[in-house]
Symmetry: C2
Amino acid sequence: MNSFIYDIPTKVYFGENQLGHLGEELGRYGKKVLLTYGGGSIKTIGLYDKVVEEIKNAGLELFELSGIEPNPRVSSVNAGAVICKKENIDVLLAVGGGSVIDCTKYIGAAAYYDGDAWDILLQKVPVDKCLPIIDVLTLSATGSEMDCGGVISNPETQDKIGLLFPVMQPKVSFLDPSITYTVSKYQTACGAADILNHIMEVYFNMDQDLYMLDTVMEGLMKTIIEFAPIAMEAPDNYEARANLMWTSSWAINGFVNGGKRQAWSCHPMEHEISAIYDITHGLGLAILTPRWMEYTLDERTVSKFYQFGCNVLGINPEMEPMEVAKKSIEMVSDFLFKTLGLQSTFTEIGIDDSNFAIMARKACGGGILSGFKPLNQQDIENIFKMCL
Amino acid sequence: MNSFIYDIPTKVYFGENQLGHLGEELGRYGKKVLLTYGGGSIKTIGLYDKVVEEIKNAGLELFELSGIEPNPRVSSVNAGAVICKKENIDVLLAVGGGSVIDCTKYIGAAAYYDGDAWDILLQKVPVDKCLPIIDVLTLSATGSEMDCGGVISNPETQDKIGLLFPVMQPKVSFLDPSITYTVSKYQTACGAADILNHIMEVYFNMDQDLYMLDTVMEGLMKTIIEFAPIAMEAPDNYEARANLMWTSSWAINGFVNGGKRQAWSCHPMEHEISAIYDITHGLGLAILTPRWMEYTLDERTVSKFYQFGCNVLGINPEMEPMEVAKKSIEMVSDFLFKTLGLQSTFTEIGIDDSNFAIMARKACGGGILSGFKPLNQQDIENIFKMCL
């Protein structure tokens, strides 16, 4: 294993009725709060009113940016940065899912930059300052609530770029599983597919495992498989929502990584798809995952599939490793497309092969995606074709 | 499950050759460093010289407190506090195992108090300030490197008290598994018993489980059982030492707890033993653990033993739950006393029943220890007797 630095300072209020701490936490960072959110579902569920009440009760001054898109756009980042500069905002409050939190992270960084925020995504300017960020999570999926990364889209260039900057790490996150009771079956399923893939991107690795972290990842994956169907069936099952929510944070906050330097595979491929077709990230990942597993399975990688099949899916360890591997791909596929009921092909969601070449080239930067199994442009095109 | 606040801000440098960051991290907090350590083994293994070199290279001023005892005494806390006040120390650097780090935490708190440090343990004074603490860990056991607690002994009163204060949380911990290559077989075994019991104190709980955290705990326990024997057999096996070290931190940093309010059982009982007999904490826990399991097993608790036996020890789930439970106690006993080779009875280590009544009364504070199975003074005495 490699050496690593563990540094996840986000404080988390987990559970129901924790919003009473919101005013006190915001107040630590100043008086002027910019509240950021999406299409308004937080108003429908009454969360907006609760948040605003906490802000008012704490004697803080409220500004707002609404309408942040599901695949958040750089135009929203720029719009937020303008408000921050004009109003001298002290602290950002993101209320939403991963898209809102991601966007808010870059608003916090762009508040200190005088040009187009896209320059930050193109890494033309350093990011060493960011306004403090607090969030109230409404969807268990991306893990943005406990990491320092975010993904932004630029519809003009059809690019979607994700970066990590330690200064963008949220200071405080409020995780109330009951807030996710109203998340639809479909979005619950997409979130589960996203969380599962976050863990698989790290777990499927041939070189640098720490047994302890493998056992943790196996537990997290079992948790998703156990509770996603329960949450879909009984949306107000607190245990199910709580397990999905806390797992979503730990799947991608860096802990399970433990110094692995392996590139991810499905995420860069999916980002190219949603950059052009604006589909839900978790859905794109769901369609890609079993095909990527199939494409990467060989004599060299079979032992990892075997470990996964036995320890996560409960396949009989006395079966031949290659049989366990194939069965595990089948079971993942069944989980995503039958149990979660997600669409299983690109064709079904209106994506044909016309952009595969350009998407594949962008996904590997014209070189090699050096993940679990190194993939070049042709490999990625092949995987895309398997998804048709 | 209960609500909880997750707040573990300690930054960790994990792996070999990370000490190059020590000077820069100390320097963030000031110029005057008080280095605290134990009996001098850090000199034998060359660690003292490396640490001093880093401090000098960073242009910091070095003060020292050595001789901190294995069950650290309040006299050492007072001695450290005197140096802090006299020399205007800015930052504390604990180099050692749990005892050194525990003691250093209270030195940091006592630096702001003008009376006897024992008043802090008696909770006569509030602890809302503490000098910043950085540590270099030399033993995988107590988890003090990533939590805000510590246990201090007072030989005059034969008391041993453990408390938690958020301000005592280490700022930065250096965890280099290769530093533990020289830890003896016996201390490696005691450390493993300590880590295992930390997890069991939380895992064995009838009410408030979060499935996800149970799976994490099961993984951590499997890790100890897998790697403690390897580290004893091959002391310089990096994978084994790394797995034990990172597991020791996560066993007790608060993450796996997830809002459980249940009291611990074996720890308060063991503290009374080592308060009088000054034995190694992990050894006392090892002797107590299987007897405590036996005493708490009944129709109400059997399901948790069944879960433990199947998921951690790999016992056939088709066996009767009570049979699985009994077999799991036998396997834990075999692991501690055969595989780890620890002494299995109080008699063997020279402890007789003469203090059982007073120790039992102190362990439950004269009332009920409301843990996994509530225990009164008589119950605790019964468990002590089973250890003879």
